[in-house]
Structures are given as structure tokens and as C-alpha cells.
């Protein structure tokens, strides 16, 4: 699978960015958790991002030239993405140093900026694929789906981390359920729009439906987690360490499968000859 | 023949570093002379000679990496029937008339088009020229034929040895030959030799050609790390 580096890069980087935004919100909302955990989360987010970027370099013919990628922010979303993630990493370092009792205010300020950069980075990632040559992508969908990846996997990532660190269990049931709801509906609407369309767009839609990845994503990414959550609500259970980890991993795999589907089913414009 | 002072194993009871270098370049000289003769087809006329020379390898090459181990072991397994068929094997790999299974030309591996007489060939030509040599039938046999490249390396080592015998290591002559040798290995041999050896290992039908390919692979794998 040629696009594997891209699949892993996009999913992991979006998860990391989403995780940071979650961390920031928790911090601002004054949720109780130790500086230690804050520190650790920042490190983990940093590492995840770095790893994802390293993975992406396997996609390049000349990985060592990657630094050149900052040079065309004027028009290239790929270039912008590169810059934004670089800035994100730098800010993370700064943010890391702010996990001290007396630095709460500067931390929230710096965190705010970082969160915005993270959000923009995800958006840039999505914009890369808004290409006229790939009609099924040439719309709001890539950006939306990349946001949703961050919004779903990010909080679960942090949730799991916190659970493992023995922090007070975060109540992710509602937010997760909502994001899954939005994701599921928008994805189904998108797919049906593709299929009901014509030409390459329709062809893309049909590729998706014919792919086993489609059902894999549906189940792991949304349905099963949703069921688990509903069940927990019914039995008034919180997402304890075990459960949140399970849901998180499931969603992560679901996202990866989904991204593979995203790259694998697209139909591009070409010259049609016999 | 007597070994000159500066090449004695020990000088006044102390191990002599130059001695190692001397012995080593002898080993390589022997190796490259063999490869040169082998690829120029000389050894095939006399399979017994080929066999004995191969067996000698086990005397002076230490099995220091898997490829060498495998290669040296194969040598001991070589059967007579294989020696009889080596010629056909050899021809299918390096001679023809059919599409070559392992073309012995650098440019066949390195040129974007996999063609002969490309830039690589001419680079090799100018390298020979720096050492004051050229291909006997220039323009007909591609300069980057492995038989010629090996002969060239042997030539460099030979001259290095002479200067070694006559003066101290690190002296300019020996130094230049040493430098040319490593340059040629780095710029040319290792750019393709491993792919080539793999082709031989993959396609050869006798342990003779396979063993030689394995040993060449092994030796160069070690050379690669030695050379600066």
C-alpha cells in the first residue's frame, strides 16, 4: 500500500493536535490534574507528532530535502502544513516549560496560541487534498473529516493517558457520542452524495462502497464505540481505564482504516483513450 | 624471495602495522586478479585451475560475514559435474547469446536506461586514463566490464605493493594507489556490484558461479566498511 506513510502521518498528527486542544481546554476549564500529567501529555503529544512526521518522510523520494518544504507557503498547502506543524512543535517545547505552579497564566496564553496553530495545521492538511484533479475531494470533505479525526481520537488519547496516570476519570461519554454522531452522519451523507453523483465522483463513491475498508471503518470507528458508550450510559458506568483504552484503540484503528479508504478509493482526472 | 625489513611481521619483537596492510593488500590483490581473470573468461578454459584457485580462497579468506561463510562453504561442495556445466551457467549469466541474466557491466545497472556505453562507462574510462591505462579494444568492450574493472584494481594493488616494499606505508606512492583504489571501489564497484552479485546468486545454476558471487559480495561488504 503505497500511501501508508501518508495514512499514518495524517491520522497520528491529527490525533496529536486534537489531543493538545483537549489538554488545553481541560487546563483552562481548571480541571484537576497534576502538573506531572500535564507535562507527560505534552511530551507524548510532541513525540506522537514527531513520529508522524518521520513516518511521512518515507513518502518522499528525498526525505533529507524535507526542510525545503517551507519555501512555498505562498500557494502550496503542503508547504503551509509543514510550516504549521513545525511551529506547533516549537510551541509545544515552550508550552512544556510552562508546567510549573506559578506559570498557569502564561501557560494558558501560550496554550491558546498553540491550540490555534494545531487547529490551522489540521485544516492545512485537509486543504492539501482539495484538488480539482480529484473531484471527489474538491470540496469541504477532506478538511471536515480531518477535523473529525482530531476531535474523536484526540480526547480519547488524552482520556486514556489520564486514566493510565490514575487521574480522575474524564467524562468523555457525551463529547465522544456527539462527535461520533456528527462523523457518522456526515460520512454517510458524503458517500451517498458521491454515489448519487456522476462520472469520477460517482466512481469514487462506488469504489468506497465496494471496499471492505468501508465497513471496517464504519464498525471500528463509530458503531462499536457508540454501542459501548450507550451501554456504559445505560449501566451508569464511567469509561474506566480498560474501557477508554479499548475505545481509543478501536477508534485509532478505525481512523487508520478510514484514511486508507480515503486514499485508496479516489478517482483522478485523466485522458481517456481506447 | 626475501621480505624487506619494513615488511617483517615484527620489528624488534613489536608487531608491525605495515605488515598487516601488506598482507591484506596481497589478499585483495589475489582476489581481484582472480575476479579479473574469471570475468575475462580466462579461467574457464581450465576448470581444474579454477577449482584449485577457488579452494585456495578458503586458505586466506576468513568467513567474517554470512555471505562469506556461505560462499566458502559452497566451494567445498562443488562437484565435478558442476565444473563441467559451469561454462553454460557462466554464459547464461555473462555472455549470451540470450538476454543476460547478470550483465557484467556497470552501466547496465547504473545508467537510467540500463544501456551499455553510457556516462558510467565514460567515467570509468577517464578513471583508467588517470592511472595511465585504457581498454585494449576501446570502444568495443565497454570500459566498465567487471573483468576490466577488476584487472584495474589488481593493477593498483600491485603498484601499491611495490611502493610498500620499497618504502614506508603512507609514503606518497602507496598512498596515491591506495587512494585511487578506494576511490574506484566507492565511486564505481559498490554502486552496482551488490545488485550484480544478487542477480548471479539468484540465477546461477552451479555452485561455482554462486560461490564466487557470494564471496565477492562478502569481501566488498567488508571493504565497504574499511575504506575511507
Amino acid at each position: 500500500m503505497g500511501e501508508l506513510p501518508l495514512v499514518l502521518f495524517t491520522v497520528l498528527s491529527q490525533m496529536a493536535a486534537g489531543a493538545f486542544i483537549t489538554l488545553y481546554i481541560l487546563d483552562v476549564k481548571g480541571k484537576q490534574f497534576s502538573l506531572e500529567t500535564g507535562k507527560l501529555s505534552t511530551i507524548v503529544i510532541f513525540i506522537t507528532t514527531v513520529v508522524s512526521i518521520l513516518l511521512s518522510s518515507f513518502h518522499l523520494g528525498h526525505p533529507l530535502g524535507a526542510t525545503k518544504m517551507f519555501t512555498n507557503i505562498g500557494s502550496s498547502w503542503l508547504s503551509r502544513e509543514a510550516v504549521l506543524f513545525a511551529v506547533f512543535l516549537i510551541l509545544l517545547v515552550g508550552y512544556y516549560t510552562q508546567w510549573k505552579p506559578d506559570k498557569a497564566s502564561t501557560r494558558t496564553q501560550l496554550g491558546g496560541v498553540t491550540a490555534i496553530v494545531a487547529f490551522l495545521a489540521i485544516t492545512a492538511s485537509g486543504m492539501i487534498y482539495v484538488l480539482p484533479a480529484r473531484p471527489a475531494w474538491n470540496n469541504f470533505a477532506p478538511v471536515l473529516f480531518f477535523w473529525l479525526t482530531a476531535a474523536l481520537s484526540g480526547p480519547l488519547f488524552i482520556g486514556t493517558l489520564f486514566a493510565i496516570k490514575g487521574e480522575k476519570i474524564l467524562n468523555l461519554l457525551l463529547p465522544t457520542a456527539i462527535v461520533i454522531g456528527i462523523g457518522l452522519t456526515s460520512f454517510l451523507i458524503y458517500t451517498s452524495l458521491l454515489v448519487s453523483s456522476t462520472g469520477l465522483v460517482q466512481a469514487t463513491g462506488i469504489n468506497m462502497l465496494n471496499s471492505s475498508l468501508f465497513w471496517g471503518k464504519l464498525l471500528l470507528n463509530w458503531l462499536v464505540p457508540l454501542i459501548i458508550i450507550l451501554a456504559s450510559v445505560l449501566w451508569k458506568k464511567k469509561l474506566d481505564t480498560k474501557l477508554v483504552t479499548v475505545v481509543f484503540l478501536m477508534v485509532l484503528v478505525g481512523e487508520i482504516i478510514g484514511r486508507a479508504l480515503f486514499y485508496g478509493s479516489i478517482e483522478a482526472l485523466k485522458i481517456i483513450g481506447s | 624471495m626475501t621480505i624487506r625489513n619494513n615488511l617483517r611481521q615484527t620489528v624488534a619483537g613489536v608487531p608491525n602495522p605495515k605488515y598487516d596492510l601488506f598482507i591484506h593488500q596481497q589478499t585483495l590483490f589475489k582476489f581481484w586478479s582472480f575476479i579479473g581473470k574469471y570475468y575475462q573468461g580466462e579461467l574457464l578454459q581450465n576448470t581444474d585451475l579454477l577449482h584449485t584457485t577457488l579452494r585456495e580462497f578458503t586458505d586466506f579468506i576468513k568467513p567474517r560475514n554470512p555471505k562469506l561463510v556461505e560462499g566458502l562453504e559452497l566451494i567445498s561442495t562443488i562437484t565435478n559435474s558442476e565444473l563441467q556445466n559451469v561454462i553454460f551457467d557462466y554464459n547464461q549469466l555473462f555472455i549470451g547469446p540470450d538476454k543476460l541474466l547478470a550483465p557484467p557491466y556497470e552501466s547496465a545497472y547504473c545508467s537510467p536506461e540500463g544501456l551499455l556505453m553510457q556516462d558510467e562507462t565514460l567515467a570509468v574510462r577517464s578513471f583508467y586514463f588517470k592511472a595511465g591505462l585504457e581498454v585494449s579494444n576501446k570502444g568495443q568492450i565497454p570500459d566498465d566490464h567487471l573483468g576490466l574493472e577488476a584487472e584495474f584494481l589488481a593493477y593498483l594493488l600491485w603498484n601499491q605493493r611495490i611502493s610498500l616494499e620499497e618504502c614506508t606505508v603512507g609514503d606518497n606512492d602507496a598512498g596515491t594507489f591506495q587512494q585511487m583504489y578506494s576511490q574506484f571501489i566507492n565511486q564505481h564497484i559498490i554502486t552496482w556490484i551488490f545488485d550484480h552479485c544478487n542477480d548471479v546468486i539468484k540465477h546461477s545454476t552451479t555452485n561455482v558461479c554462486r560461490a564466487i558471487a557470494l564471496i565477492m559480495y562478502g569481501v566488498l561488504d567488508l571493504e565497504k566498511h574499511c575504506l575511507v
Binding site: A66, N72, L78, I128, L269 | P112
Partner: protein
């Protein structure tokens, strides 16, 4: 808008002989897998009668090149005469342009792990010479034109099978193949 060089492809003269493609390969001694110019057959059912018609295409040196827009390292540039250049020394082989070009023009060179594409033989054009493909066509079916000043009766912006030109405004014009009278035994 200033000068914009482009190809005029006369599909009425084109006989699909591939000489243009080979002339290019011969001039640059290209890797077999690299086809800077490709002769595309037009589907038989695209016209009233089955015929053997072709469109010979290389880089279209678009007015709004997607390759140039999306390239993160700025390997692409547009000369004053509109030729879209690609600088291998900048290229890092990210394949973004391959994804973005509606015509599959940029190709990944497996040897150098970078992208390769037609540059309209800019170095020859600067010497006032014809590109290899133009000079190599036995039917004189390919010409270099300045599309800003070009208006030939019967020239069109697309042929059947050619993607919608509105995306990148390709600098290519075609002469439609005329379908002659056929007396067939299957009708």
C-alpha cells in the same frame, strides 16, 4: 497576460506513429518508463464512424499550472514565455504535482526518485529551434504557438477524452480530426 507558448496538436494530420514520442526519448535518452510525450488514441465511439484518431500530448504548460501551485518546494516555475519549468535540484519527490495534474504529466523517475516532465525543450526554443517532438513529427502535426495571439479557424480547446480545460487552462489547442466518408459492409 503576456506571451504563453503552447502546443498546437493537429489530430487531422496526426497518424499516431509515435515518432514525436520517440524523437523526445532519443533526444534526451530517457528511461523506458518515462514518456514526456504520449500519443493517446481517441476512442472509436467518440466520433460518428470508427476511425483511428489520436491526440499527441506532452505537458500542456498550463496558464494556471496546478503542479506549480501545490509544489511545496517551489520546484516549478513559469517562464515569461509561459513554459512551465521543473527544477530537479529542488524536487524532493513528494509526488504532490502528480496528484494535482489533471493530465498525468509529471512522472516519478524511479532512478533519481524525483519527478520528470516535458519542458518544451526550452533550451532549444531559446536558440530559435524546434522542440524535439515538433522537429521529429513526419506529418508536421505539432506546432508551437503563442495562444495569446493564436486564433486559427477550426482550432478547439479539447477533444473527446481530454479533461475539462477550465481547471488549469492548458496551453494546448487541437485541430479536430475530420471523419471522411466510409462505404462499409457492416452498415
Amino acid at each position: 497576460m503576456g506571451k504563453q507558448l503552447g502546443f498546437l496538436v493537429d489530430s487531422e494530420r496526426c497518424i499516431g506513429c509515435h515518432s514525436c514520442e520517440m524523437a523526445c526519448k532519443n533526444y534526451y535518452q530517457l528511461h523506458p518508463s518515462l514518456r514526456r510525450r504520449k500519443v493517446h488514441p481517441i476512442q472509436e465511439n467518440d466520433y460518428s464512424m470508427p476511425e483511428r484518431n489520436y491526440m499527441s500530448l506532452a505537458c500542456n504548460h498550463c496558464v494556471e499550472p496546478e503542479c506549480m501551485r501545490v509544489c511545496p518546494v517551489g520546484a516549478y516555475s513559469k517562464r515569461d514565455d509561459g513554459i512551465v519549468m521543473h527544477d530537479p535540484s529542488r524536487c524532493i519527490g513528494c509526488k504532490m504535482c502528480i496528484m494535482a495534474c489533471p493530465y498525468q504529466v509529471p512522472q516519478f523517475d524511479p532512478e533519481v526518485k524525483k519527478v520528470d516532465k516535458c519542458k518544451m525543450c526550452a533550451q532549444l526554443i531559446d536558440k530559435g529551434e524546434k522542440p524535439a517532438c515538433v522537429a521529429g513529427c513526419p506529418m508536421e502535426a505539432i506546432q508551437i504557438i503563442d495562444i495569446t495571439s493564436f486564433n486559427k479557424y477550426g482550432a478547439v480547446k479539447l477533444l473527446p477524452g481530454f479533461p475539462n480545460p477550465s481547471i488549469t487552462k492548458p496551453s494546448v489547442r487541437f485541430i479536430k480530426p475530420t471523419i471522411g466518408k466510409q462505404i462499409r459492409r457492416d452498415k
